[in-house]
């Protein structure tokens, strides 16, 4: 069988790859992709823990479902914002969207 640690290391790697994408990309959509990767890493983590430590109870699965929903909502709103900002400012570069600068 596969040890739990493998899943954990995989999800940690995936999370860090996503994090790198979020921190380094200029394109806002690319940043959103990084966020998706990070969320999926979390889901992998959650399901792994559930399977090895919690099954057959379903609590862990509910967590995953909620994260999925939140991720979907996040993508929808995030993409909506990007499109809107693009319409108004004609750019999708995250650094150029600095209207909130103090």
């Amino acid at each position: 069988m596969i040890p739990l640690g493998w899943y954990l290391i995989f999800s940690a790697l995936l999370f860090c790859v996503g994090l790198f994408g979020v921190l380094s990309r200029r394109n806002a959509i690319a940043i959103l992709m990084g966020v998706e990767l990070m969320l999926n890493a979390v889901n992998v983590n959650l399901l792994a823990f559930w399977r090895y430590l919690w099954a057959p109870k379903v609590d862990g699965q509910v967590f995953v479902a909620i994260v999925l929903v939140a991720a979907a909502a996040e993508v929808v709103v995030g993409l909506g914002l990007i499109i809107s900002a693009y319409r108004r400012r004609n750019t999708v570069v995250a650094d150029e969207m600095d209207m909130l600068k103090g």
């Binding site: 290391i9 990084g34 090895y52 909620i66 929808v76």
Partner: protein, 171 residues
């Protein structure tokens, strides 16, 4: 090494490679396509965890909906974000350092944890599991409130996205 382990390593390798290409490819369209592959790999990993429901949901929601949405957005905004200019910020080496540091920290924590090398899994009845999952979501004693809150969140996000993305010049 069992066949399952080999399959896991292969899937993980493909997924991680795709993920790296997602965050590094110059063309944003290519990055989006690599994202589809990475999400598919994760769906396969869900299957190895015997969470067949989530594997299916992963394919449908992430690949079928989210990835497509992203691809549409890329196509809508491609005109300005030419594929020629730098795709990464000037600080990307610092981002790399931060990311590796986070990974190191996580690994450090895991290695200290004794349950890290657990291999045994509890027994699981697949059909029974899905029924109980569905009942748990709508049972008043269990998760109906988070479920409904999530529903409201989705509706709010949907309406909000429509309002935000609406063309301000058109009524």
């Amino acid at each position: 090494m069992t066949g399952l382990q080999i399959a896991f390593l292969a899937i993980a390798a493909v997924t991680l490679a795709s993920a790296v290409l997602v965050v590094s490819s110059r063309k944003i369209m290519h990055a989006a396509l690599w994202l589809v592959l990475a999400l598919g790999g994760i769906a396969a990993l869900f299957a190895t965890l015997e969470a067949s429901f989530f594997a299916a949901v992963q394919v449908m929601v992430y690949i079928g909906a989210i990835a497509i949405l992203i691809i549409f957005s890329v196509m809508l905004t491609r005109r300005v974000m030419e594929d020629t200019g730098p795709q990464n910020t000037r600080y990307w080496p610092a981002a790399l350092v931060v990311s590796l540091g986070v990974f190191g920290g996580i690994l450090f924590l895991f290695l200290q944890w004794p349950g890290f090398s657990v291999e045994s899994r509890p027994g699981l009845e697949q059909g029974d599991l899905l029924v109980r999952f569905g009942q748990a979501l709508v049972s008043p004693d269990e998760f109906v409130v988070p479920f409904e809150v999530a529903s409201i969140l989705l509706v709010a996000a949907m309406i909000g996205a429509m309002i935000i993305a609406r063309d301000p010049s058109r009524k």
